[in-house]
Symmetry: C3
Subunit: 293 residues, 3 copies
Amino acid sequence: MTSIAGTSGPARAADPPVITLTTDFGLRDGYVAAMKGVILSMCRDARIVDVTHEIAPQSVPAAVFVTSTVWPFFPPDAIHVCVVDPGVGTERRALLLVTDRGRFIGPDNGVLSAALPEAVRGAAPAGGGPVHLPDGFRAYSIENRAFLRAEVSRTFHGRDIFAPAAAHLALGAAPERFGPRVGAMVALPPFRARPDATGALRGRVIHIDRFGNLITDVRGEDLPRGEIAVTVAGRTIRGLSPTFAAAEGLLAFVGSYGYLAIAVRNGNAARELDADVGTPVTVTARTPGNATG
Amino acid sequence: MTSIAGTSGPARAADPPVITLTTDFGLRDGYVAAMKGVILSMCRDARIVDVTHEIAPQSVPAAVFVTSTVWPFFPPDAIHVCVVDPGVGTERRALLLVTDRGRFIGPDNGVLSAALPEAVRGAAPAGGGPVHLPDGFRAYSIENRAFLRAEVSRTFHGRDIFAPAAAHLALGAAPERFGPRVGAMVALPPFRARPDATGALRGRVIHIDRFGNLITDVRGEDLPRGEIAVTVAGRTIRGLSPTFAAAEGLLAFVGSYGYLAIAVRNGNAARELDADVGTPVTVTARTPGNATG
Amino acid sequence: MTSIAGTSGPARAADPPVITLTTDFGLRDGYVAAMKGVILSMCRDARIVDVTHEIAPQSVPAAVFVTSTVWPFFPPDAIHVCVVDPGVGTERRALLLVTDRGRFIGPDNGVLSAALPEAVRGAAPAGGGPVHLPDGFRAYSIENRAFLRAEVSRTFHGRDIFAPAAAHLALGAAPERFGPRVGAMVALPPFRARPDATGALRGRVIHIDRFGNLITDVRGEDLPRGEIAVTVAGRTIRGLSPTFAAAEGLLAFVGSYGYLAIAVRNGNAARELDADVGTPVTVTARTPGNATG
């Protein structure tokens, strides 16, 4: 009782199912609530948790980033539904992915990438594409109409396909009953800035959080040893700060996600730097000769 | 287990109660959480689901539209609370409406209209007004002070009247104990554009969703046969698109609600057209002679 | 069954735990969901309720105001987590406060002030500071690493300290096991405008709600007897309105919180008056001589 369960250990048989929802539907409309109604109509005991419904509209990469910061903290028997689906109504598959760290449901457009190991995602082309699934990962194309709503609309698969599939899974339906097993699924490559010929890490902003902090694709573990210099939007930051509270003005730190982040103490870095998702970020080892700016 | 329960079938006796909340309170303040605290203080096992708290302030029609897209997807024993209440503190009734499709609690100002059949709503005047309840619909004026908080404020009936009433109902209190049965309640007429003398459907925008899509009061089933032309904000759209993904630019389609919707692929129709709730929309059968614009 | 439990009475042993969350994390990121994942990984049966995640970034007073309007409506065994934490990563304590009205977890920076009696908060200096805890209030410095996540980040104590502490408490861990008992904690003084030498109440706006209503620190019970005049942003309001619905234009009323509030019927007072948190508000007894403006 005094050890934190975290993501380890199997759930007890009697545990109520946990279902998380991540969408770009927002909360002004009834879309999310309709999905919850479908789930609760079938599985009254489900614990439904909103990850966020504020994903930038139709932005698959943003959904991958946010879910990558959330899914690892859920129990391994959780069911994670992610519906960011610019191709709804086209022939893209509806996917069920079964892993030891959770079960994942969504369109086969890369939005479930955070469920895959980085090495697997590394095989995907720059804009995303099919990758072969490794041992321990099983994917199914959701096609069994008995697991969908009787009437499937062309525009709202969250309610008509993904929510009922999650509820059936929560009720104990075996994954292979949902449809044919598939050996590959669409993935995005990992967020990870690579060094150029000079050794400088060339990255970009991948997310802006509520505080206006810029989250970059530079990994803390990839940073050069010793003092570093971070250049973004024409400004240079020297050295890492251990915490928000340890510096004034513009600062760089390795955030809780393990990514290099750029912040303004008691301010909004995105606004002050006029930076956005995609803004380039360069990290170099700081040497006396380049300590300018 | 493989059939979707949807809205059919009675709930089992042991099912925990489901209570949904729809308000215009927003999520910046503590209003919604105070309601949840009152409910959970009385009925710890309630499954409380937020429909939305982003209804435009004091907009009863917007609440009716959004709830009409959500309530049908919940179990028939769910309790739906809707508090959009410009007349709070006046003499308007607090209402409990019991139907085969759910139980509904809110002020008697039309906000529960989505619980009524269209034919019944059709008897309401244009701006809303009392309608007689048909067989199978029972309404009660919530007046029994034993079912309210001990101290009822003048400005926050969501916390002091509607939340405790919902909790008492969830705990099994019989509807007739809440107060006198009433034979009529306030309703809004249905959202349904009517044809003019030339046969053109004259409608309006009734909702703008998170994507900037314009939802209109033109029903898919009322559309003229064959090709149509949709005119809105000085622009004309020819023909329906089967899905978002099937067209470029400005397009019209019948959305998951069954209403004609107007969207811009990968864009925001409300902004691009400078359209708002209330903007007129006209749909005509497309003939060669009027294929201009 | 017909009496409202409200905040009185002990919870039954079998009741599932209730945990509320109040943060400034917003809902665009995964921060809040990660906290919920940690809690549900340890305590699947927890009822997690969002108070709000829209506290103005790093605004401890705003968190105190909002939680003061919510916490009293929850059951007395509820666990309230509040993470507004500008000093995260510094040496400020992580605190567990045990009272007869709830258990409270958060940084020791004043953010738990709403759990303290006003008389106790009255001992705090204007900007907040340590106060001695009275009988019936026990506080502990959360230091037992067995109750934290195995790896504690420097920037996200909500996930790594406060969420697992709440889950352990929900599972029944005794408060004294979390760390050493402390006799004082940081508190903010109460929101309560004081009269000046002339008897006028000199207050300020402490919160702006979703409707643009200005909530002030003038208590309804402190208002002068008879007619009053409220001056704010260069405008004077004469008399109190009993409800929103009872007046036109600019009006003052005692809101559901017991504070004087200023509203514009069918409008937004904050925008119309160009008022903000901190805007001065003066209330005087209205006498014929000063009935101008």
